[in-house]
């Protein structure tokens, strides 16, 4: 009897897994279409019946977009990587400093300042983009990566998240440091930072991904094709006079691949970063 129940339970489990696995594959059909089309010739992309596996697999499409004369993905990747890495590191360093101040230093006006920072999360970046455009025009940052990097140094949600992490560290730790005469800089660098590596990596991957995928800011602040970032490059291939769908799809696949790889290695950090942002309710 017990054995019978156990096997029926296992069968149910297997069936359920198969159904969800099927759904998962169905869910990724657009991605599979993208991958498949990126390996075809232009006139085979929209043929019926649709062939999921191209007759001759053209890896050369990738070579074309990566080394193209007018919009090489190699250069585009370098641009996007530069902007994303510099902004992310800057944001993390400055946000953790501010988070430490809000969590562990008693200073006049800290509550009001923190409130202001939090309230700023409600302002959509789209609302301030026109004045920022004027600002960059007048101080010579238009068509410069710093137009994207400098504003990214302020990350209200990163400050909030890291502050929570610092507050959850045991208070005795900080009391002990104070008794030993450690300055705030020392406490911050030697105690707080090393103990909060995991939440920092969470914020690192999340803000890297959002910079990598950004579209509106590069679209407005970078107009010279040499400076283009990844989303602009995909748009460029779409707008190209010679409609080469397979190249657009090769560019699209190239833009997604690094993010998926990062996710494979840092899945835990992604999930923790996202989950703790939402669990407050």
């Amino acid at each position: 009897m017990a054995v019978k129940m156990k096997t029926s339970k296992t069968i149910r489990r297997v069936v359920k897994t198969i159904i969800i696995a099927f759904l998962a594959i169905l869910f990724l059909v657009p991605m599979l279409w993208m991958l498949s089309s990126s390996l075809k010739t232009t006139n085979r992309v929209f043929t019926t019946p649709f062939k999921w596996i191209p007759e001759d697999i053209r890896w050369v499409n990738y070579k074309t977009v990566w080394t193209s004369k007018s919009m090489p993905m190699l250069r585009v990747f370098y641009n996007s990587l530069f902007v994303s890495v510099v902004s992310t590191i800057g944001q993390l360093v400055f946000a953790s400093m501010a988070a430490y101040a809000f969590a562990r230093i008693k200073f006049k006006g800290s509550n009001i300042l923190f409130l202001f920072f939090l309230a700023s999360m409600m302002i959509p970046t789209q609302v301030t983009i026109i004045p920022r455009f004027m600002l960059f025009q007048s101080i010579g940052l238009y068509n410069s990566y710093w137009a994207l990097i400098l504003p990214a140094f302020f990350g209200a949600s990163t400050i909030f998240f890291l502050r929570q992490a610092y507050l959850s560290l045991p208070g005795e730790l900080f009391d002990a440091a104070k008794v030993d005469g450690a300055s705030h800089w020392l406490t911050f660098g030697r105690i707080t930072m090393p103990l909060t590596i995991a939440p920092m990596i969470s914020m690192l991957v999340l803000s890297f991904v959002s910079m990598w995928n950004d579209y509106l800011n590069p679209l407005i602040f970078l107009t010279r094709p040499k400076l283009f970032m990844i989303s602009q490059a995909i748009r460029w291939y779409m707008l190209d006079e010679v409609q080469r769908y397979e190249l657009t799809m090769a560019a699209a696949t190239s833009s997604i691949l690094p993010i998926v790889i990062i996710f494979l290695f840092a899945q835990k950090y992604f999930i923790e970063g996202i989950a703790s942002s939402g669990i407050k309710g």
Binding site: R13, K16, T17, I20, A21, A24, I25, L28, P30, M31, W33, V45, F46, A95, M97, A98, A101, F102, I105, F107, F116, F117, S120, M122, I123, P124, Q126, V127, T128, I129, I130, P131, F133, M134, L135, P151, F153, F154, I159, H184, N213, Y215, S231, R235, M238, L239, T248, A251, S255, I256, I259, F263, F270, I271, I274, S276, G278, I279, K280, G281
Partner: protein, 299 residues
């Protein structure tokens, strides 16, 4: 100055040194532009005429907005996007989270698949959807040639009554990964004893979901509702990519109009007024949600 006061002052100075870089960036790139946006919305200004070309016109921009057919379309469309995208994608991800949290093999691996669209470039995915929804795209081939439920090929991208559908579908699809993770985390917090009692009482799986799971995760649903509604209000990339080269009123959004008026037509004052309306709507939704929360969220 006595030593205690001095120590306090020193502490304050250190505090400000720690927040200084953020405060500076905040003032220059958020606070100042915010004030400037408010000011600009009361002016008429073609950016090409330089700073001296800024002309104060009072409420004229806001009056013009009221009769601008494109902007009323943008607002109407945004509401249609919100009432379709938010409930459908929340419902789907809640169900998926419930299933993925249950008795299943390879949960983490399966969750990974549903998460990929969320972290992928929205521009890349909008490009894919544009191709999938073309009149000779995969969707039409499937509907007409495989299922035979349609005789002619619908023009999903250009037909005024259909061209919101690709945008809605894309937003639902890409949002699921994020919501799934938050829902799965929330489900971990539902006490197992409740399910055990339900099992002893012989309650069906469906009833268990309706009477136990759903009420207990309403705070999460509420949180996601706000986050997603605000995200939908800012919808831009997908529409911009799907309508490249065209410009329809039937699927435009507020940010699309702000972008078009400012960076295509250089009407900076008018576009600023539009952006203030967007801000006002976002704030209203946020506050409204907080008040409604008391009515139906079970803590």
């Amino acid at each position: 100055m006595n030593p205690r006061k001095r120590a306090k002052l020193k502490e304050s100075i250190t505090g400000y040194l720690f927040v200084a870089p953020n405060l500076l960036v905040f003032l220059v790139f958020i606070a100042f532009p915010m004030i400037a946006a408010v000011y600009l919305s009361f002016t008429e200004w073609n950016f090409l005429s330089g700073f001296s070309g800024i002309k104060w016109i009072g409420l004229a921009n806001f009056k013009a907005l009221k009769t601008d057919p494109r902007f009323s379309y943008a607002i109407k469309n945004t509401f249609i996007y919100a009432v379709t995208i938010v409930p459908i994608s929340l419902g789907l991800s809640m169900w998926l989270a419930y299933v993925l949290n249950g008795d299943l093999y390879a949960k983490k691996f399966l969750r990974f698949f549903f998460f990929i669209p969320y972290i992928s470039s929205q521009v890349a995915l909008a490009a894919v959807f544009k191709f999938l929804f073309r009149d000779d795209g995969l969707l039409n081939t499937f509907l007409v040639n495989t299922l035979h439920i349609m005789k002619s090929y619908p023009d999903w991208l250009n037909n005024d009554s259909l061209n919101k559908i690709p945008i809605i579908t894309l937003a639902i699809w890409t949002g699921i990964g994020y919501q799934l993770i938050i829902y799965m985390a929330a489900l971990q917090g539902v006490p197992n004893e409740l399910y055990e009692v339900a099992e002893i009482e012989g309650v069906s799986s469906f009833q268990r979901f309706i009477y136990i799971t759903f009420p207990l995760i309403t705070p999460t649903t509420f949180y996601l509702m706000i986050v997603r509604t605000i995200a939908v209000f800012k919808i831009f990339s997908s529409i911009n990519i799907m309508t490249l080269g065209t410009s329809y009123a039937s699927n435009t959004s507020m940010v699309m109009e702000i972008y078009r008026n400012s960076f295509v037509h250089y009407k900076f004052g008018y576009a600023s007024a539009e952006s203030l309306v967007l801000l006002l709507l976002v704030l209203t939704i946020t506050f409204l949600n907080f008040f409604l929360q008391k009515k139906w969220v079970h803590y």
